[in-house]
Amino acid sequence: MNEASSSLIPLVIYFISVIGLVALVMCLSWVVGGRIKRRPATGEPFESGIVSVGTAQVPITVEFYMIAMFFVIFDLETVFIFAWAVAFEELGWPGYAAMVVFVVILVLALIYEWKSGALDWGIKTRTGLERK
């Protein structure tokens, strides 16, 4: 066995162990996991309680998702600004300039969202989507 192939041994072991681990977990869950006998009530949320009414899949208005997304986007803004703030001294004016550009772009994006009505609640009040 030459050097090249012997150096591959750790990788091979890693590879095999990954596959082995996945296989093991899958087998275990099959062996250990309980067997369910299908009865009429098996699919019910509360097999022994009150029969549920209606469906849980209620449509939630899109605004909730929008707000969640805006939160993620503008939250990440903070992450970048924080990273810059930590190294404020080292980065100096160029760093400041870069940050200003970054913030300006985000402000433009915010204006865009505002104007196109993404921040309005309810379709009736949303005005920015009309075409001119």
Binding site: E3, S5, S7, Y112, L129, E130
Partner: protein, 483 residues
């Protein structure tokens, strides 16, 4: 960052500024025509900055980007294609009841990603460009609200593209683990280490990297998403995916291979050859069975990237680099122009308000007699795809075979010949369908902007096919400067 750096980056900066301007225009004045016009003007400004850069190139802007002739050529190409797609999309969305304005925003973002990609020399900028390109594309693919087909296409592209990016990242991580750098150039200096462990890292890392790239280039066996996405996406977006997205990633691949010298690894060349042979055969054979023009073009694009790889692989042969690059770039340009034209025709015939694009083969019956100019242009485009003289595709194929013969890649060339032979069948089938007697007499309107785009595309195909000398001379210098 010096002033020179900013000057070098001016095409990218101009495009970024245009995106912001368009964003504000949409916010204050949502008007399709204004938005499209601004987009096109902005892209022309981007083009206008390129002559200012040509004098000072090549400029290495930090470790991340390099602006050289190669990057500039592809930036020009991307800008031109984006202009064409914008104009096609204007007519496609014209009269649409939805809101087409953001389309241009996403299109430009995607183009910006492509431009970053073609000039990146570092894994960080590579990934930045790639994600910018892809994420905008997810939204673009599902842009028109017409049933589930575009949505399915977008989700499929999202998942597979995500997998590809992950594979790619793993490859980059392994390369970093082995060599401790992410810059292509520094990777190149340590690419042939003494220690076998590091070599193993490099080979496996490169293999993962290639897998990721093969996903994006839709090489067999990673091509499954292509026909569905091409079929589902609105026609102008399909044109964009098939040209800019693939072209930019191929350019990146060229850059990576040239800077790192990954050609020297025999195993990588073998892997590429397998991709190439598989793509040429499977692409052409599967295209035979399609009755949908978009799907057929999707498979044919798989085969074309296979052809492209033949030239690329010949770069691994001693002394073959310059010709290989020249051939690859010429073929790439011919492919981009021709594919843009093909999907342009589909776009002209389709409208975003209909439930499906005009992509069934029978929709083309009798086009020759209903709209001779359009059918003539489509025939030239199909002949170019088939590689028949007088067209850019012929010179491209000539180049590929020349590079292959020089590299004595006989198996690949034989596959190419067989593949092209099969290819002729399905391209001709479309032309034949167009020559049949028409069943419909409904008039076809050719919108002005799209008409001009198609005229220019066809003229370019013919010019490159009949008198390619100036372009070839330019490519010759370019290829020399790259190596």
């Amino acid at each position: 960052m010096t002033f020179l750096d900013f000057q070098a980056l001016s095409p990218l900066l101009a495009l970024t500024a245009t995106i912001l301007v368009v964003l504000m225009i949409i916010a204050y004045n949502r008007n399709h025509k204004v938005v499209c016009t601004t987009t096109v003007i902005g892209l022309f400004i981007t083009l206008a900055t390129i002559p200012c850069v040509i004098g000072i190139d090549p400029v290495q802007v930090t470790q991340l980007l390099v602006i050289d002739r190669f990057a500039l050529l592809l930036i020009t190409l991307i800008a031109l294609v984006t202009i064409a797609v914008s104009l096609l999309a204007y007519d496609y969305f014209d009269g649409n009841s939805g809101r087409p304005e953001e389309f241009y925003l996403l299109l430009m973002l995607s183009a910006l990603g492509g431009m970053v990609l073609v000039s990146s020399t570092h894994f960080a900028s590579f990934l930045l460009g790639l994600e910018l390109l892809s994420i905008s594309l997810y939204a673009l693919i599902s842009y028109p609200i017409k049933g589930l087909i575009p949505l399915e296409a977008a989700v499929k592209y999202l998942i597979l593209s995500g997998v590809a990016s992950a594979t790619l990242l793993m490859g980059a991580a392994l390369l970093y683990a082995g060599l401790g750098t992410l810059s292509f150039e520094q990777l190149g200096s340590g690419f042939y280490p003494e220690q076998a462990t590091v070599q193993a890292y490099i080979v496996i890392g490169s293999a993962l990297l290639l897998t990721g790239l093969a996903f994006k280039l839709s090489l067999v066996p990673f091509h499954m998403w292509t026909p569905d996405v091409y079929e589902g996406a609105p026609a102008p977006v399909t044109a964009f995916v098939a040209t800019v997205s693939k072209g930019a990633i191929f350019a990146l691949m060229v850059r990576f291979f040239v800077l790192t010298g990954a050609f020297e690894y025999q195993s990588i060349l073998v892997g590429l050859s397998v991709f190439a042979i598989g793509s040429m055969l499977a692409g052409n054979l599967l295209a035979l069975m399609q009755n949908n023009v978009k799907r057929m073009l999707a498979y044919s694009s798989i085969a074309h990237i296979g052809y492209l790889l033949v030239a690329f692989i010949s770069g691994g042969i001693t002394g073959g680099m310059a010709l290989a690059l020249e051939a690859s770039i010429f073929f790439l340009v011919a492919y981009i122009v021709t594919t843009l034209g093909a999907f342009g025709i589909v776009t002209i015939l389709s409208n975003s308000d209909e439930s499906r694009d005009c992509d069934a083969l029978e929709n083309y019956t009798g086009l020759f007699w209903r709209r001779p100019a359009l059918a003539g242009a489509f025939s030239i485009i199909l002949f170019s795809l088939a590689g028949i003289p007088l067209t850019a595709g012929f010179i491209g194929k000539f180049y590929i075979i020349a590079a292959g013969v020089k590299g004595t890649l006989w198996l690949l060339i034989a596959t190419l010949v067989v593949g092209s032979g099969i290819g002729i069948y399905y391209y001709l089938r479309v032309i034949y369908t167009m020559t049949l007697k028409s069943t419909s007499t409904e008039p076809i309107r050719i919108p002005v902007a799209s008409g001009w785009v198609m005229l220019l595309v066809t003229a370019t195909i013919l010019t490159l096919g009949v008198y390619p000398t100036p372009f070839i001379d330019m490519l010759g210098d370019l290829a020399k400067s790259l190596t």
